[in-house]
């Protein structure tokens, strides 16, 4: 089992563990962290695939995918955290809803 295969197994494990965490964890912020860990695992798999082609000159196409993916993941985390703030602000002060007064 060479380095690339080990790295792929690590990546797959991280992705599964992170995905399970995203679904099962109750706390919203820790869910966002779990999502980031899962995406890190997927990126490890892609990098390992690029490494597999040739360790000296890795395939640049999966690496380009991962690079784009990192930037998009940061943006998605930003949006997710804004949503987390909104949800928690609403939970601490539920009476601020505009439709207060429903029976």
């Amino acid at each position: 089992m060479n380095t690339a295969e080990l790295a792929m197994i690590l990546g797959v494990t991280l992705a599964v563990v992170g995905s399970v965490g995203t679904l099962v964890i109750a706390d919203l912020l820790r869910r966002v962290v779990a999502l980031n860990i899962a995406s890190g695992g997927v990126m490890v798999v892609l990098i390992a695939l690029a490494y597999r082609v040739s360790p000296d000159e890795p395939d640049p196409v999966p690496q380009a995918l991962v690079l784009t993916g990192i930037v998009i993941m940061v943006a998605v985390t930003g949006v997710a955290l804004a949503l987390v703030r909104r949800i928690e602000a609403h939970e601490t002060a539920p009476g601020d809803d505009d439709r207060e007064g429903e029976t």
């Binding site: 706390d27 890190g40 395939d59």
Partner: protein, 317 residues
């Protein structure tokens, strides 16, 4: 087993252990700090897997900007009690179900990984063969900015949309952009911003130009620019990150410029986003500069929008 292999094993094992601990601790701040450690270890792993570009980007974006976003969310909300709101049996059931399902999926995926056939490398070969007419000498830059520049355009669009979404989720009590610190920025932060800004700007420009021949490029440069803008905003120069009227323009300038270059190619050149081999090097450098600024402004806007959120309970830090 050589020393290099042993180091790889240790790094890989550490990544897994830190990830599992980060997922299972109860406190939020511990989870975030462990995630930062995870990001740095991941960057090291990628350097070992012959992906220095990705290591640079992960260290700056994954551990840096994401860490800043998470830390800001922790410090600006009331400390949450560690006690969960769900009853014990339901939580155990949730984790057990997740473990069983996850275990099954993991076994299937590992079997798939073990049964992969030998890599053909045809895509890498095509990139190698056509590198001469791309205008750059670095594989990833050629793929991102020349062969698949359409994907990069869409990535800029996604970033702009995400920044707009984040901005629209934030409620503020007064229309004027609030100060990042209620009592003025601390002396240490101001001094740090003063010292680091010129250094980081030089690093950003160097990374941008270096991307044509070695690891580097627009994404890493954009990450450093985002860090500079965030640092300036926290240091008290609140006009660094466009807010108010200019915010929309700041977000759109990268996208508009990118589309403009592609359209110019369609009108006077060989086609939409087709780069003429004579001009390719210059156009790629111009595109990368626009891209870096767009990424920097987009990420900094996301951070500032999150930071200017109304704190529940009036807890000002």
């Amino acid at each position: 087993m050589s020393f290099g292999d042993a180091v790889d094993l240790v790094i890989g094992a550490s990544v897994l252990v830190v990830a599992i601990v980060a997922l299972t601790v109860r406190r939020r701040d511990t989870a975030v700090v462990l995630f930062l450690v995870f990001g740095v270890l991941l960057a090291t792993l990628w350097a070992r897997l012959a992906a220095p570009d990705i290591a640079l980007a992960e260290a700056a974006l994954g551990a840096g900007v994401t860490g800043a976003l998470l830390m800001d969310t922790i410090t600006s909300s009331r400390p949450r009690e560690a006690a969960s709101s769900r009853p014990w049996p339901k939580r155990i059931l949730g984790w057990a179900g997740g473990a069983v399902a996850g275990g099954a999926v993991l076994v299937a995926l590992v079997a798939a990984v073990r049964s992969l056939s030998e890599p053909q490398g045809s895509l890498a070969q095509s990139v190698d063969e056509d590198m001469g007419r791309t205008g750059v000498e670095h594989g990833i830059t050629a793929v991102l900015l020349n062969f698949r520049s359409y994907d990069t355009l869409l990535e800029v669009a996604v970033l702009a949309v995400a920044a707009l979404a984040t901005v629209s989720f934030i409620q503020r009590q007064s229309p004027a952009p609030p100060e990042p610190w209620p009592g003025g920025p601390p002396l240490a932060v101001r001094g740090l911003a003063r010292i680091l800004t010129p250094i980081l700007l030089v690093v950003a420009v160097w990374l941008l130009v270096a991307g044509t021949t070695r690891p580097g490029g627009a994404f890493q440069s954009g990450a450093v620019i985002a860090a500079v803008l965030i640092l300036l905003h926290l240091g008290g120069w609140t006009h660094a990150v466009p807010q108010g009227r200019w915010r929309g323009w700041g977000l759109m300038v990268g996208l508009i410029a990118f589309i403009g270059v592609g359209g110019a190619g369609a009108v006077v050149g060989a086609g939409w986003l087709v780069l003429d081999p004579d001009w390719a090097g210059t156009i790629i450098l111009a595109l990368e500069a626009v891209l870096a600024v767009a990424i920097g402004i987009g990420l900094a806007t996301i951070f500032v929008a999150n930071r200017t959120d109304v704190r529940p309970g009036g807890d000002d830090t």
